[in-house]
């Protein structure tokens, strides 16, 4: 897959254009800088220019090339021809992603000579700039994973406009959040020098976040194109559970400020919830057979790990229980009032559950479930912000109680004078209702699909290939 994608990608005009433009721009800049080498600021100016153009190339142009990768295969019907081979859906998606990332790596390698030349202009924080370069590349890889994963979605809006505007902003906010959270406001290049615990922890978390988010978006793309008989859900859920457990342990031990807890957990849980609650494929006999071989253990495991949204609901309940553990430790260890943090956590949880309830109530099918989930989630958050604005303009925060059934509104209410205890009670009730409704719907569908698979397997005649 990588060979094919590289063959195509390296001949693509978009890559050749970016590659040549970058070389020409950097060449001209270095020549100009050489002419004006007397200036003390020349080195840092060149650094800024190199990083700016490199960032545009790999953080904007390269990820945007991923937007059409899977959608064009689906539109041209070539995806069917590929899944008829021995290529799994995961290999198809990762092959496409790795081809674009390889081209980004090629661009990265070609700017190294310019950085070596820039070194002789002096004033260079060598380690800081190398780490920054690596971080830009890792961010580019994660953004490419997001666009490649979303490119399998049928929604043009989701796969083009959302990434175009939200990705650069989102990655910037994430990095700044981590940087200022730990580093308390130093400059980016200095902060990347890994000369303090804050720097090392922040960059480690940032890289881990990029890897995790990138993996989940690639997994989302895989789910959208995979034939029903390919089970990608189980491994993905096990990874999500493992990462949640590690995060919970690290948070329970190391997090001193409960303000961070909801955000860390939301970062880990959101991708897992989004995919588990929107899986649209039926549970098919080949997958069911693999679990049923393990008897009772397989059946219990299947409750959480079978492909499909019904078991996804149970899996998300399990993740919620696991994610609740650090709250106990943090509150008991530090004696810190966490009412607001718990409201934020419950609000985030409800925000993740609400779109799932809507798409299952309206029985949305196919890949549209994923795009509708994301769009509904984003729309409910925007609506909550609008309602908050309206309430503030009317100087009447009580107005928000009308919309308290919309979980993000609880988060908005925290910005008003409404008593935390009242908000806590409201969001708790909303979350319980959402969970209960989803559990009932899931249980009904889950039992039906188990029954049908059992009937199907019991009726299967022994088969063996025949030679004509």
């Amino acid at each position: 897959m990588l060979v094919k994608e590289l063959r195509q990608g390296l001949r693509a005009r978009s890559f050749i254009g970016v590659f040549l433009a970058l070389q020409i721009i950097l060449g001209v800049i270095l020549l100009s800088a050489s002419a004006a080498a007397t200036s003390d600021q020349a080195g840092s100016t060149i650094s800024n220019i190199i990083f700016t153009f490199f960032s545009i190339a790999v953080l904007v142009v390269q990820p945007m090339r991923g937007i059409t990768t899977l959608s064009s295969e689906i539109k041209d019907n070539t995806i069917d021809m590929m899944v008829m081979t021995r290529l799994s859906a995961w290999r198809i998606v990762t092959g496409k992603w790795s081809a674009i990332v390889s081209q980004s790596a090629l661009i990265l390698i070609t700017i190294v000579p310019y950085l070596i030349l820039r070194y002789f202009f002096g004033g260079m924080n060598l380690l800081g700039e190398i780490v920054m370069l690596a971080l830009i590349f890792i961010t580019s890889s994660a953004l490419t994973a997001i666009t490649v994963g979303l490119s399998a979605s049928g929604s043009v809006f989701l796969r083009s406009i959302v990434p175009m505007f939200s990705l650069p902003v989102g990655s910037y906010i994430l990095l700044m959040f981590l940087m200022f959270g730990f580093g308390r406001g130093s400059s980016l290049a200095d902060f990347c020098a890994l000369d303090s615990d804050a720097s090392r922890i922040t960059i480690s978390i940032y890289i881990a976040s990029c890897l995790y988010i990138g993996f989940f978006f690639l997994a989302a793309g895989t789910s959208l194109i995979a034939p029903y008989a390919e089970n990608h859900s189980t491994l993905r859920r096990l990874i999500a559970l493992g990462v949640t457990c590690i995060t919970v342990v690290l948070c329970s031990i190391y997090v001193t400020d409960p303000d961070f807890l909801p955000y860390f957990l939301a970062l880990v849980l959101a991708p897992a919830f989004a995919l588990s609650l929107t899986e649209f494929g039926p549970l098919v006999p080949p997958t069911y057979r693999k679990f049923s071989r393990f008897g009772m253990i397989g059946k219990i495991g299947g409750l959480f790990l079978f492909p499909g949204w019904p078991s996804g609901v149970f899996f998300c309940s399990l993740l919620t229980l696991v994610a609740a553990i650090p709250y106990y430790f943090v509150t008991s260890s530090y004696g810190y009032s966490t009412d607001e943090n718990i409201i934020i956590a419950l609000g985030c949880l409800g925000t993740l559950l609400f779109p799932a309830l809507i798409i299952n109530l309206f029985k949305m099918k196919g890949p549209a479930r994923v795009s509708n989930y994301i769009l509904l989630g984003a729309a409910s958050c925007i609506l909550a912000l609008v309602l908050l604005g309206v309430a503030e303009s009317m100087s009447n925060p009580g107005f928000l109680w009308l919309f308290v059934w919309l979980p993000p509104v609880a988060l908005a209410m925290l910005e008003t004078r409404i008593d935390d205890q009242e908000i806590f009670a409201a969001i708790l009730i909303v979350d319980v209702v959402l969970f209960a409704a989803l559990q009932v719907m899931a249980l009904r569908n889950f039992l039906a699909s188990i029954r049908e698979n059992q009937q199907s397997l019991s009726s299967e005649a022994p088969v063996e290939p025949t030679n004509p």
């Binding site: 094919k4 195509q8 064009s72 069917d80 039906a448």
Partner: protein
């Protein structure tokens, strides 16, 4: 051991309220070419996609060479070659690279891969186009390339959805030739097309589908033959000489009726389908000194037969046509219902 290359039993596929495939059953023996005919939206592509393990039936059972497509999709994919009804070609990729990619994807390595690519390029006459970019090919060349791709792993069964659509006459003849060669090699070919006359020429049997149901399964000759409701058969007769002699002769013959006189002969009706009677009639004509230069049973073309069949179904809605019962197999599994989708 199944004797059929393709077995479909009580297959259903619903898309919400739409019943795309509505309980169809049929069998296609090994080494035969079967045409799949139906109007747009009749359920052809859906059935073919289920057989290719690309879609999942709402209910029912399908096998390729005795392997259940629902339970063993990976094994089924090794046995079938799939040509979809429409597909795009890759930008910036030559014909050779295109086949090389699919050969790699199918697991061929080294010399074996090169050999398979050479074989299919030779078979599909793609050698002169090896370095041409695949998105610059004509429709006919693209179809040959797609056929070559689907033959890379030497499948036993070839499923072709509308392979002749959009082809010019020359490309259509080339494709037909390739399909005939494949059929001679013993491959089972399941092919859908709108060009019924060509299907009739190359197919051993035809499946007519309408509204997701099979309305006919048999050879094309039986469809072309005409007979009236009383079992009479029409023949075209051409004479060398006065056509009036035919009408004079017919009046004197029992069980023969002249339906129409023409410049060079006429149409007669013989009251039975028995071919021996036709031979007897012809010998009597010769014996009575009619100078017969042509005597043949009147045939409809397949398009007319298909239209007639659809018209009859529409006129007879109170008596829905039932699909022919499947030939019982030794261990026929009961129909299975697929799990519900959300």
């Amino acid at each position: 051991m199944s004797e059929a290359a393709i077995t479909v039993h009580n297959l259903y596929r619903f898309f919400g309220p739409l019943q795309a495939v509505n309980g169809i059953s049929f069998e296609i023996p090994h080494g035969s070419v079967c045409g799949f005919v139906g109007a747009n939206g009749a359920g052809k592509t859906t059935t073919m996609r289920i057989l290719a393990s690309l879609d999942y039936p709402t209910m029912g059972h399908a096998e390729i060479c005795g392997i259940n497509v629902i339970h063993h999709p990976a094994e089924v994919r090794r046995l079938i070659g799939w040509m979809p009804d429409h597909f795009g070609n890759y930008d910036n990729m030559t014909v050779l690279e295109y086949l090389d990619f699919y050969a790699r994807a199918l697991g061929y390595k080294g010399a074996e891969r090169r050999q398979r690519i050479d074989e299919v390029m030779d078979f599909t006459d793609l050698v002169p186009l090896a370095d041409r970019f695949s998105n610059k090919l004509s429709k006919g060349m693209t179809q040959r390339l797609c056929l070559g791709r689907s033959l890379l792993h030497d499948p036993q069964v070839l499923i072709m959805d509308e392979p002749a659509a959009g082809l010019d006459p020359k490309a259509r003849v080339e494709l037909k030739h390739l399909i005939r060669v494949l059929a001679k090699e013993g491959k089972t070919i399941f092919i859908s097309s709108h060009i019924l006359s060509e299907l009739g020429e190359m197919c051993d049997s035809l499946l007519f589908v309408n509204n997701g149901r099979i309305v006919h399964h048999g050879d094309s000759e039986s469809l072309k033959r005409t007979s009236d409701s009383l079992g009479g058969v029409l023949y075209d007769v051409q004479l060398d000489g006065d056509p009036q002699a035919l009408s004079d002769w017919a009046i004197l013959q029992p069980n023969i009726e002249l339906l129409e006189s023409r410049k060079t002969g006429g149409r007669i009706r013989i009251d039975t389908e028995d071919p021996a009677r036709a031979a007897d009639v012809l010998s009597r004509m010769v014996r009575d000194n009619l100078r017969v230069i042509d005597f043949h049973r009147e045939q409809r073309n397949l398009e007319d037969a298909f239209i007639d069949m659809l018209t009859n179904i529409e006129n007879d809605q109170n008596q829905p046509v039932r699909p022919p019962p499947p030939v019982p197999t030794q261990s026929e599994p009961p129909p299975q219902k697929a799990p519900n989708e959300p």
